[in-house]
Each structure stands twice: as structure tokens, then as C-alpha cells.
Amino acid sequence: MKSALNGKTIAGLSIMGFFVLIAIIGSWIAPYDPSAMSSDIMTPPSGAHWFGTTQTGQDIFSQVLVGARGVLVVGLVAGAIATVLSVLIGVTAGFLGGVADEFLSALSNIFLVVPALPLIIIVTSFLPDAGDFLIAFVISATGWAWGARILRAQTLSLRQRDYVEAARATGERTWRLIVFEVLPNLTAIIASSFVGTVIFAVLSVITLSFIGVASVSNWNWGTILFWAQNAQALAQGAWWWFIPAGLCIALLGTALALINFGIDEYVNPRLRTSAGGSKVKMRVGFTPVLRQEGGRS
């Protein structure tokens, strides 16, 4: 996995690690109680309130710190559940083939085509008291299909590889073929589908909080934006109310996307922007003559 750790992956993992750290210690290092009101109403960022305050004098910096946990918990839990689902469904469909495959592929295609966000909104609004884990569960129930589809396609091609056939001819049992011969070769794809689902889940949970479907008493970055929107923060020019939370979302999303690019480039080396540090122009390597000059080291 040495080459998976390229610049992009490292950058993505560092940002991600930073946010995970905030999610863990955020509620301890937050200078104020995020819900506590004060007399500093709608103040711009200052030494006392790094990100300014809300209409009711709440400290936005503390809200952002505390809110990281909700976002990451839902994102990671939903990502994990959805990945387990997609591995179970995708690999089973790809390995078994036949009627089971037809059925499972149709199922995942249906979940892919049905617009997920409206469905999540409706399901969540039917739930009387939607906490973080319930939301994570709803998101993962709609978000597994993409990974299942990719995993099925890959398993289908792996299943026919000689080494799987060879292991079978050695006398290996079917579950061993799946777990020890096929799954290890899917690691990169599973990782990438996990990261992809986390992105989807993070955006979904923030959206749900922003439109007020999820419980707004739990702090997360979407909740901050919900209150900002409700208090007409934009019209009052309180840019500090919605900029920090939004930037955090964008940064976290970028970090996850970077991790995924790193994985993609590891799986498909052609995608690397520059090979071995030197810039490769598209035409180099197309003719043997150029290959020597181009120095494709």
C-alpha cells in the first residue's frame, strides 16, 4: 500500500484526522456552552468570540467545535453500515450469479435511481424523534446501492480469475474463496465506496439539520446554518454565522474526496497527475522513439 500514500491521500487523511480529533475533544475545549445565551448579541469575530456570536449571544466557535461530533458520528456510522450492506449484497450478487444476482442487482439499481435525499427527508420527518443513530441508519439504508453496484461488477470479474479457480481446484471452500481470495482484492474499492458513502452521509445529515427535519437541539454544522437561516443572518450581514460551519463542511468534504482520489489513483495508476515527479505529456510513450527521450522513469 506504499504508493497509496501519495500527496493527496496524506493531505486528505491529515484534514480528516484533524476533524476526528475535534469531534472527540471538541466539547471539552469549547470555550463556552454552545447553547448558553449571553448579552453579546450578533457580535462579529473578536478575541472573546473567535467566530462571533448569534442573535441570542451564543458562541459560534463553540457551536462549530461541538457540532463536529454529530456530523462525524453520523457520517462514519452511516458509512460503516452502508459499506457492510454493499459488501454483503454486491459481493454475494457477483459471486453467486444467476437469479440471486438478477434480484440483488435490480434491488440496488432501484435504490440508485430513486432520488435519495427526498426519500431521506420523508422518512426522517415521519420519525417522531430522529436522533443521530436513527438518521445514520436511514441514510445508510438509502446509500448502500452505489457501492454494491461497483463491488458486484468487480466481483464478477474477479470470480472468473484463474487464481479463484485455482484455489477452488486446490480444494478451498466457497466461503474461503470469497473471504480470502476475492475480498482482499476488493480492499481499495471497498475503502473508496466507504469514503464515498461518508461524503454522502455528511452532506445528508447537514442538509437534514439545515432544513430542520432532524432534531435541531443536537448541535451539528447543519443546525448552526438552520438557526442562521432562521434568524435572517444573511440579510443582517452576519457573515460569521454561516461562513465557519460551511467552510468546515467543504473542508471535510474535500478531505474525503482527496482520500478517494488517492485510492482511485492507486487502483488505476493512469490517473496520476504526474508520474514519478516529472510531468508526462500525453503523447510521450506513444511512439518508441519518444519513449527514450521522454525518460519515463
Binding site: A106, N109, I110, L112, V113, V114, P115, A116, L117, P118, L119, I121, I122, V123, S125, F126, L127, P128, W146, I199, L203, I206, T207, F210, I211, G212, V213, L225, Q229, L234, A235, G237, W239, F242, I243, G246, I249, A250, L251, L252, G253, T254, L256, A257, L258, F261, D264, N268, R270, L271, T273, S274, K279, V280, K281, M282, R283, G285, F286, T287
Partner: protein
């Protein structure tokens, strides 16, 4: 034809699944909120309307599940999606009919522009891999990671609040009467600039990245090398050989990401109070207007299915392999 027929069959099954999910949801989840809603409107609701709400939400505990299901379908075919609580006593179907043209226009135009423009930039970026264009990638990544609605908020604060060049909310000049006259259309266009740009900027990044990666992959295929070796002009190889093949997955990806795009557009409408279906959904969510939410979900799903079918037709025209198999 066979390919299209099979796809159409699949979409029918999907439509059936979506409708059935819609039918099952209120029955699987606690029905009290709806009951409470109906109680609040007691006396103002006609008995017919109450009956149809009972069917929609499975409050009618006396009839069997199957007969409920059949009545549900019957109501759907009559276009009866129940009454909206928010826009009481307008039927849901009417509320949707009023708002859907706005969404179709906004989303249809921006999605097509975003796809075409993004694909073109992606073709170029993939072809010129390793040049300065690669520097664009981190920026596009950043933009694709931003939630649509937040970009909308920024756009409002910069262009509407601070600068004041564009309106912050609404679909047309208040006071104008919607109609096919120049005054109204120009106003609608003016009001749609910010939401459209927001959707465009957040969705284009995905197309650029996807297309670039496909181009890079396709560029090292043998047939591209052969085209080079034949001495064909660079542009011809790029467009006629590499892009022609690289665009196929992008189109099938288009169909699959429509669901995501729709979700994003709904949010942009909410932020801009744009009179489309997203804004209606937003008001419906806040008012716990279940009939409206469910009706919107159905309509959106059907629209996405139709768009998918169209994408399939385009794919069929571009890919000789499926054409032959058809």
C-alpha cells in the same frame, strides 16, 4: 429496441417500488402525526378528503392491507394525492402542478449546461494531463464538496445583500402576473440567474472530474495510439477517438447522479425561496404536511425515471455496441 424495452421495464418496476415504498412508509412508521394533523383540520375537511387521507396514510384500520393498497392505486390513477395542509384546501396535485414548471425549467437548463460544459472542460483537462489545468483539480474538488445550499447562501450574501445586483429570493418581480409576456419572462430570467449559477458551479465539478479521469484512462488505449500513429490531427484524435469513447460512462453516470442533482437543486430552491417544487417541499417539511411531502417524492421520482429513460436513448444513439444488441 430490446435494450430500451428492458430499461423501460426496469423503470416500471422502479416506479412500482417507489409508489409501494410511499404506501408502506406511513404504515410502518407511527401514524400519530398525521392523525393529529387531520384532527386540527377537523370540520374544515370534507368527508371525501378525509377518506382519501385515510387511504394515503393507512389510518383506516378496518379494511385489509390489500384493499387499502388497491384503493391507493385507484386514487393515484385519478391524480388524487390528498389535500395539502399548508396550502389548505388546495389538493396536493394542484400545488405540485403550479410549482413543477419552475423546477423543470431551472433544473433542466442548468443540468444540461453543467453536463455539456463540464464534459467539455473534462475532455480538455484529461487530454492535457500534466499541464497547468491539473491545478484546477483541487479547486473543483473543493467546489464539489460544498453543499449546494451553502454556496447559495454565499451567493445571496455577496451578490444580493452586499452588492445588490441580483434579487435574494423569489422567482419573479412581486406584483407581476405570471404569463407569456416579455416583462414576466425577463423578470423570471433575471431572478433565476443566481440559483442557476449556484447549481451550475456546484454540479459542474463532478462532470469535469469524471470526464477527466475517463479521458486519461481512454487516452492510453491502443486505438488512440493507433489514431496518433496514423498521423491524424490532434483535435480529431481527442474528440473523435478519445472523447467519443470516454463520454459513454459519463452519460450512464449522468442518469445515476440525477437523483443527487435533484436533491441539491431542491435545496437551492429552498435557500432562494424559488417557487419551485423544492421550496414547496421545504414549506411542507416545516409544516409537517405529509400528503404534500409524499406527493412531491412521487413526482420527483417519476421525473427522474423519465430523465433516465431519455439518457438511455442518448446512450443508445452513441454506443454502437448497445445499438447492435438492441
Amino acid at each position: 429496441m430490446r435494450f430500451l424495452l428492458r430499461r423501460a421495464l426496469f423503470y416500471l418496476v422502479t416506479a412500482w417500488a417507489a409508489i409501494t415504498i410511499n404506501f408502506m412508509l406511513p404504515r410502518m412508521l407511527p401514524g400519530d402525526p398525521v392523525q393529529a394533523m387531520i384532527a386540527r383540520f377537523q370540520g374544515r375537511l370534507s368527508t371525501d378528503a378525509i377518506a382519501s387521507l385515510y387511504v394515503l396514510f393507512g389510518l383506516d384500520t378496518e379494511s385489509s392491507m390489500l384493499s387499502q393498497y388497491l384503493t391507493y392505486w385507484g386514487n393515484l390513477f385519478k391524480g388524487d394525492l390528498g389535500l395539502s395542509f399548508t396550502y389548505f384546501p388546495t389538493p396536493v396535485s394542484e400545488v405540485i402542478a403550479q410549482s413543477i414548471p419552475w423546477t423543470l425549467a431551472l433544473m433542466g437548463v442548468t443540468t444540461v449546461i453543467s453536463f455539456v460544459l463540464g464534459t467539455m472542460i473534462g475532455v480538455y483537462a484529461g487530454w492535457k494531463r500534466g499541464s497547468w489545468i491539473d491545478a484546477l483539480l483541487p479547486i473543483t474538488t473543493f467546489f464539489s464538496a460544498i453543499p449546494y445550499f451553502w454556496l447559495g447562501l454565499i451567493a445571496i450574501s455577496v451578490f444580493a445583500v452586499s452588492w445588490g445586483a441580483f434579487p435574494a429570493a423569489g422567482g419573479y418581480e412581486p406584483g407581476l402576473i405570471p404569463g407569456f409576456d416579455w416583462e414576466f419572462i425577463s423578470s423570471a430570467l433575471y431572478y433565476s440567474v443566481l440559483p442557476a449559477l449556484t447549481v451550475l458551479i456546484s454540479s459542474i465539478a463532478g462532470w469535469i472530474l469524471g470526464m477527466r479521469n475517463m479521458m486519461v484512462t481512454v487516452s492510453s488505449e491502443d486505438y488512440v495510439t493507433v489514431a496518433h500513429a496514423k498521423g491524424l490531427p490532434e483535435k480529431r484524435v481527442m474528440l473523435g477517438y478519445a472523447a467519443r469513447n470516454a463520454v459513454l460512462p459519463s452519460i450512464s453516470g449522468f442518469a445515476l447522479s440525477l437523483g443527487f442533482i435533484v436533491g441539491g437543486t431542491l435545496l437551492v430552491e429552498m435557500v432562494f425561496s424559488y417557487p419551485g417544487i423544492g421550496y414547496v417541499l421545504f414549506t411542507g417539511v416545516n409544516a409537517k404536511d405529509y400528503p404534500l411531502m409524499q406527493g412531491i417524492f412521487l413526482i420527483i421520482t417519476m421525473a427522474v425515471l423519465v430523465a433516465n429513460l431519455l439518457a438511455d436513448v442518448v446512450y443508445l444513439m452513441l454506443d454502437p455496441r448497445t445499438r447492435k444488441a438492441a
